[in-house]
């Protein structure tokens, strides 16, 4: 990797995660992968500064979770303090417009709250920055252009060149987060700044209920031997009725998607 002349600043947006079984607060899986990417980048590009950002309130639960990120080897975390029910997007956008970090990493979807996965998009829209999802690796950063590997389904990768500043979101394709150690987590500091309080109006209109288990389509395999079973498990699922659309207008694409959703009984 070519070293950038002056040190690069990477902002990583982190949220308070939630363990899927016990519901205990923890570092969120995808955000931790974002921090891991930033730490790897910092070890490869000397002079890289990592700024870990969290917008939310400070309490015991969030402290446990946020220290989980700090234990990965960070000295501090910037906490944009907001009362409960505030819109994180407004606070983050205000902070990022002022700080202007060239590269912003974030998880794709939060583990609690709305968890709609819209934050990266909303933020990118507000800042007017490009957004790349499904980051697998950062390859080079040269002259304000970053070369990324984007993860596509079934292990495919796509190389993209993006002009900085940009927002890049990380999902399960990113590198596994390193272990969080108790000592560094305990020593690291919170830099608390109060952020603008803009109530999340959409959230107040939402009706929250425990999730239902969604039905899963069964894949029925009639196989006589282990070899057949293996072939069935390894083969592409439902590849028969797929359709690749290329060079179509957005309207045509939307119509095709709508048609599929109706066929699958998702929309009625």
């Amino acid at each position: 990797m070519q070293p950038e002349q002056q040190g690069l600043e990477v902002a990583v947006l982190v949220s308070v995660g939630r363990h899927p079984i016990t519901g205990r607060a923890r570092r969120a899986e995808q955000d931790a992968r974002g921090v891991e990417l930033a730490l790897t980048l910092a070890s490869e590009l000397p002079g890289t500064r990592i700024n870990v950002l969290h917008a939310g309130q400070q309490d015991i639960n969030s402290e446990v979770a946020l220290r989980g990120y700090l234990g990965m080897g960070l000295n501090s975390l910037t906490l944009l303090e907001q009362p409960e029910g505030s819109d994180a997007i407004a606070a983050l956008a205000a902070y990022l417009t002022k700080a202007l970090p060239p590269l912003v990493l974030t998880g794709t979807r939060a583990e609690c709250g709305e968890g709609s996965g819209l934050l990266p998009y909303a933020l990118a829209e507000r800042l007017g920055w490009p957004l790349v999802n499904g980051l697998a690796a950062v390859e080079t950063i040269e002259n304000g252009v970053v070369t990324l590997l984007q993860a596509l389904p079934r292990g495919q990768r796509r190389r993209l060149k993006v002009r900085l500043p940009a927002i890049v979101s990380v999902d399960e394709a990113g590198p596994v987060a390193r272990q969080s150690a108790f000592g560094p987590a305990r020593r690291a500091k919170f830099i608390v700044t109060s952020a603008i309080h803009e109530p999340d109006r959409e959230l107040t209109q939402w009706h929250l209920a425990p999730a239902r288990k969604r039905p899963k389509r069964l894949k029925i395999v009639k196989a006589a031997s282990a070899r057949d079973r293996f072939k069935a498990a390894a083969s592409k699922a439902g590849g028969k009725s797929g359709q690749v659309l290329s060079d179509v207008t957005p309207e045509q694409g939307a119509v095709a998607i709508l048609k599929l959703l109706e066929e699958e009984d998702v929309l009625r």
């Binding site: 079984i21 272990q179 969080s180 108790f182």
Partner: protein, 671 residues
């Protein structure tokens, strides 16, 4: 001439030794402070040496007698030599003949002893270090022979003019050699260092409670807690100077006899750990330098001479090599076989866990599945990441009384994390059956129970251990029970020996804990159980480390098996010498590769005993031994054997009195 030369030689050797001693003491004091009673320790030292140390050395009778003659002879000869030759009491009319005669006897005894030392060095086993240790018998003979000969003229047994001329010069040279090794070398790092450091190590041992007293032998096996409230205290040991000073002193006491190496399961499996080398690495670290001068067996697969360290430098390199490689530390199964065998009472396991604590708590470098297991323990209170609400699913049909409902019971049945393991669930069901037949009033914590913290602690995550332990203590304090019974020796050890230190004011954490084999033996002795005669084949018993070496329970499982009508075929390594199954200390989680697998070697021991069934008493041992491919023996937990043999108990009212305890059959030591 000898009469003038000897006092000069003796006192200059003593002066140089004193200089070396102060230098050595300064090296030890690079360690962190540790408060031990200095005077009380020094006063207790002779007893610790004569009783506890010789209890270990005495397992090898020839070596024990050799050491008594050589060391006893040397101490006596050295003191008498100072009196006779140094202070010139040999020429006094009244004292001379007596002291001189005693000196002759002492040096003669030492000479005989050193002949035996020499005999052992002729074809030394691989566990012994070579190098300077090979010259030691000759040095011992030089000292004892030289002193013996030099004393003869003093007593008038040789003509006085023997003390001049070429012969006397040669004799003086021999005495210089002897003094150099025995007095000067003692404090300047020669093989005799073990006597100087060893004596002080016995006096200032960090576990004074492990030594026997006149009331009998005691045991101290629980790991010591880290102070996590003090944010300035180091989390574990990252550099040699992070050890306490008496730990450093303990490392320096190592006599490189290699008994630890001979019993270490990881070493035998070809994993990169040799406990003797590890202690020597620490000695290199405390004085600074490279391990190139080490002359024993290396850590398997790690050539000698590539590692180096300083007192304030890292033990495990941040990048590349330093004093020790991390795999070496993670190979240990914490089976304590090395500690049990060490004649110098060195605490290898404490040191390894201390260094693991640094790797986990400071660096976040728990290898392989370690980080995931720790995350699971933090998030779900069990290492497998299972839903804590499903802890009692295996007993859905058993209607187990819950402590939350009954509030008090005679026995609290601690399930352990085996409750999530389908194999161990069979053991647990068998144990519940036995308890029901014996009409024991028991209850379980159910979903309130958490992992005991054993794995977290041994993986170095003291923070998670203390969190789990404190929550368990708080849960246990809500209920009343007389004792805890568990089929997991790891929980047994942690609950019984390691929770006490974490008690908070007003909430004691001292529990009476019983292994299920002990409890079943008690039930049988009380006449509450009766067994059908054993019809199976030959059986052997595998002592779990955490039951045997950690808690001294060798007898109860054997009593239960005898009560079942089983005549045990003991394995060559059983009782306190039992070989580990490979499942302790998080070793299956960190999974450091070796040439062989530890459980395979243990199953081979079972095969050699000729038994078709191996009785075990630990979920880890069950899992490890059952994981052996093409095993020649079946693996059954004692609880399962007991449950299968249960018949209607004789009516306690009809017989009137409980049955006499079975004659105690201790495991036979095979040396």
């Amino acid at each position: 001439m000898l009469e003038t030369l000897l006092p000069i030689l003796i006192f200059s050797a003593l002066a140089l030794a004193a200089l070396g001693a102060s230098r050595r003491v300064r090296l030890w004091r690079q360690g962190r402070p540790s408060s031990v009673p200095i005077l009380k320790g020094l006063a207790a030292m002779p007893r610790r040496y004569l009783v506890d140390l010789h209890h270990v050395v005495g397992r090898d009778k020839v070596m024990s007698n050799t050491h008594v003659a050589t060391a006893g002879g040397f101490v006596a000869a050295a003191v008498l030599m100072i009196l006779v030759h140094g202070l010139g009491l040999g020429s006094s009319e009244s004292m001379g003949p007596i002291l001189g005669g005693l000196l002759l006897a002492a040096s003669a005894a030492m000479f005989v002893g050193s002949r035996f030392v020499a005999r052992r060095r002729r074809n030394p086993p691989a566990r012994l270090s070579r190098g300077p240790w090979m010259r030691l018998p000759r040095s011992l003979m030089a000292f004892s022979g030289g002193v013996f000969l030099a004393t003869l003229p003093t007593l008038g047994l040789l003509p006085d003019d023997f003390g001049s001329g070429v012969l006397a010069l040669m004799l003086a040279a021999v005495v210089v050699w002897g003094l150099g090794e025995m007095v000067f070398g003692m404090t300047w790092g020669g093989p005799m260092k073990h006597a100087f450091a060893g004596a002080l190590h016995l006096a200032f041992h960090r576990r004074p409670e492990r030594f026997s007293s006149k009331q009998g032998g005691r045991r101290s096996t629980g790991l010591k807690a880290l102070d996590l409230d003090d944010e300035t205290a180091p989390l574990g040991v990252g550099t040699p100077s992070d050890f306490t000073w008496n730990q450093l002193l303990g490392f320096d006491a190592c006599v490189q006899c290699g008994r630890c190496e001979a019993v270490c399961p990881a070493f035998a499996a070809g994993q990169p750990l040799n406990p003797k080398k590890l202690i020597q690495d620490m000695v290199v670290g405390l004085s600074g330098g490279s391990d190139a001068s080490y002359t024993g067996s290396p850590h398997p697969g790690k050539p000698v001479g590539e590692h180096y360290g300083t007192p304030y430098g890292p033990i495990v390199g941040l990048a590349g090599q330093a004093l020790v490689d991390a795999e070496t530390l993670w190979s240990c199964t914490t089976c304590r076989a090395c500690v049990e065998e060490c004649p110098m009472m060195i605490e290898h396991v404490d040191a390894i866990v201390d260094m693991r604590r640094h790797l986990t708590l400071e660096r976040g470098q728990t290898p392989n599945k370690g980080a995931g297991v720790l995350d699971n323990l933090i998030a779900t209170d069990n290492p497998g990441g299972f839903d804590p609400g499903s802890r009692l699913h295996w007993a859905a049909d058993l209607n187990l009384p819950l402590m939350a409902d009954v509030k008090q019971a005679e026995v609290l049945l601690w399930l352990g994390d085996g409750a999530f393991d389908m194999r161990n669930q069979r053991t647990l069901r068998a144990l519940v059956k036995v308890l029901r037949v014996a009409e024991v009033e028991f209850a379980v914590l159910g979903t309130e129970e958490r992992d005991s913290g054993d794995v977290a602690r041994r993986l170095g995550d003291e923070a998670t251990f203390q969190r789990l332990a404190r929550r368990n203590i708080a849960t246990l304090s809500k209920y009343r029970f007389q004792r805890i019974v568990t089929c997991d020796p790891h929980s047994f050890h942690v609950l019984g020996n390691e929770y006490g230190e974490l008690a908070e004011p007003g909430i004691p954490a001292q529990y009476e804990v019983r292994h299920h084999s002990t409890f079943i033996a008690e039930l049988y002795d009380a006449g509450r159980l009766a067994f059908a005669p054993w019809k199976g084949g030959r059986v052997t018993y595998h002592d779990p480390c955490y039951l045997g070496r950690y808690n001294g329970e060798y007898e109860a499982p054997r009593r239960v098996l005898k009560a079942l009508g089983i005549e045990l075929k003991e394995m060559e390594r059983s009782g306190f010498r039992s070989r580990c199954c490979g499942g302790g200390g998080g070793a299956p989680i960190t999974d450091i590769p070796g040439e062989r697998r530890i459980p395979d070697m243990r199953m081979n021991d079972v095969k050699e005993s000729g038994a078709g069934l191996v009785a075990v008493g630990c979920p880890q041992c069950t899992a490890m031994l059952e994981g052996v491919v093409d095993a020649s023996a079946e693996v059954r937990d004692i609880a399962e054997l007991v449950a299968d043999a249960l018949v209607e108990p004789p009516s306690v009212n009809a017989t009137g009195s409980p049955r006499e305890p079975v004659v105690k059959a201790t495991a036979e030591e095979v040396l």
